[in-house]
């Protein structure tokens, strides 16, 4: 009667091969990118010397922090409109991983910032501030879901919060940019995109893509566990009810 199993089945068969592919591809790209970034490319004294190599870890985590919150919001929206169970599973899976990635971003940012600017935290860095608020958004989402009584309520509450958060994120970024622009200090990363020379760009992109694939693989693993948990709970309940 409640045909829950249709969609998740497709996802499970898809992730059977997709997840390992993501892990493999992600690891390869990460290893090459980090090897290049940490040992091969020359150091840039303008950016703080050897410590700037942290950028190869830090920048992708920042991109993923933003991207994963967007993914969370999109999944929440899809669930809210079409009630695809897999979308809710995806949102629930992304949150803790996104939180971890934002934490790594903040940590690596501090590691870079300390020798370069002398402080563990720079309030004038717009991107770091935005990532910090992203961290709170992830934590709030996870805490809210955990506080709800049932799975269905957790999904609904999470969806509302994710969508409210999503439409606020551009405003938060904008206000933080305005705030930090008043103080005229350089951010942790000044070179990005086309301005960066190819020597740095390729390893950076490799790390970025590698991290993304790893993230995607981890999300899928998390989702598979969640789907199995839900199935088990359902079967257990059916057993208790006598059939």
């Amino acid at each position: 009667m409640f045909s829950w199993f249709a969609n998740p089945h497709r996802f499970l068969s898809l992730s059977n091969w997709l997840a390992p592919a993501c892990y493999a591809g992600g690891l390869i790209l990460m290893i090459w990118g980090m090897w290049q970034g940490l040992w091969v490319v020359p150091k840039d004294d303008y950016q703080g010397g050897d410590i700037m190599r942290v950028m190869f870890m830090h920048v992708p985590t920042a991109w993923l922090a933003m991207a994963s919150y967007s993914a969370l919001a999109v999944m929440s929206f899809i669930w809210f409109i079409w009630r695809h169970e897999v979308a809710d599973v995806a949102a629930k899976a992304i949150a803790p991983l996104g939180a971890v990635w934002t934490a790594i971003c903040l940590a690596t940012g501090s590691i870079w910032g300390k020798p370069t600017w002398g402080t563990w935290w720079q309030w004038d860095d717009a991107r770091m501030m935005s990532v910090l608020f992203m961290f709170f958004l992830f934590l709030g989402y996870m805490a809210l879901r955990a506080a709800m009584d049932t799975r269905q309520k957790a999904a609904r509450a999470g969806a509302i919060l994710a969508m409210v958060g999503a439409i606020n994120v551009p405003l938060i970024h904008y206000s933080v940019e305005m705030f930090t622009s008043l103080h005229q200090t350089a951010s942790v990363i000044t070179s990005s995109g086309p301005k960066m020379s190819a020597v740095y760009l390729w390893p950076l992109l490799s790390c970025a893509l590698g991290q993304s694939l790893l993230f995607a693989g981890l999300v899928q693993t998390q989702m598979r566990t969640e789907i199995r948990d839900r199935r088990t709970a359902k079967l257990r309940a059916q057993l208790m009810a006598g059939g």
């Binding site: 608020f133 709030g140 009584d149 409210v164 405003l171 938060i172 305005m178």
Partner: protein
């Protein structure tokens, strides 16, 4: 659709804010207390106090809004009043907005109006600028209450959900806090800040009620 439930909800929330024992005095006391503790903590150097005063008052305004909001929707959920409000002819978003507005008027607005007095305690120069700032606090406070209301509505069924409300509301408060603080400075690039502050409040007024309605329907479900 009818507007009578909306006015009734507004009036009842107003009455309730005053009826609950200390009523509006609680956040007022909190506000004043925080503002008094800060000079004791950071020292009484007039220049320092003048510099941090406006910011501290924003923090106190934000925190005191969270104190009030914790009980708005949770009480209604627990005693069954929410069920009755959801079954009236008015849209839940309007009911939620009316209640939030009522609580802002009884607890938030007085804080904003009290701000010139507190600013003087923070060694600010007495001027009409203080009254302008009071208006900024009022506008910003409105945004705080509406976003906080979203957190309160989502946490309506959570025991001791105060921490959860704060965690949810904090990122949503950021743009208003930034624009509000900037509006009170003369720093270059801050000319648009008052406008942006008003815009962020309007944004909250436009969006938050619908999120609150969805959250309240979930709480009653």
């Amino acid at each position: 659709m009818s507007a009578q439930p909306i006015f009734a909800a507004f009036r009842q929330a107003l009455a309730e804010a005053w009826a609950g024992g200390a009523g509006a005095l609680l956040p007022l006391g909190f506000f004043a207390g925080t503002a008094v503790l800060v000079p004791l903590g950071i020292g009484t150097d007039p220049a320092t106090l003048r510099a941090v005063g406006p910011g501290i008052l924003w923090v106190a305004l934000a925190l005191s809004s969270l104190v009030t909001l914790e009980r708005i929707f949770q009480a209604d959920t627990e005693d069954g009043a929410l069920d009755l409000w959801l079954q009236t002819e008015a849209p839940p978003s309007a009911i939620a907005a009316a209640k939030t507005l009522a609580h802002f008027l009884t607890a938030g607005l007085p804080l904003a109006l009290l701000s010139p007095l507190l600013a003087l305690m923070f060694q600010a120069q007495a001027s009409t600028g203080l009254l302008v700032n009071a208006a900024y606090y009022a506008v910003g406070g409105l945004a705080f209450y509406f976003w906080g209301g979203v957190g309160a509505a989502l946490s309506a069924t959570v025991r001791r959900g105060g921490l959860l409300i704060s965690l949810i509301a904090l990122p949503l408060y950021v743009p208003t806090a930034i624009f509000g603080a900037m509006a009170m400075t003369d720093a270059p690039g801050s000319q648009n800040a008052p406008l942006l502050l008003a815009a962020s409040a309007l944004f909250a007024l436009a969006v938050a009620p619908f999120a609150m309605a969805a959250a309240l329907r979930l709480a009653a479900d």
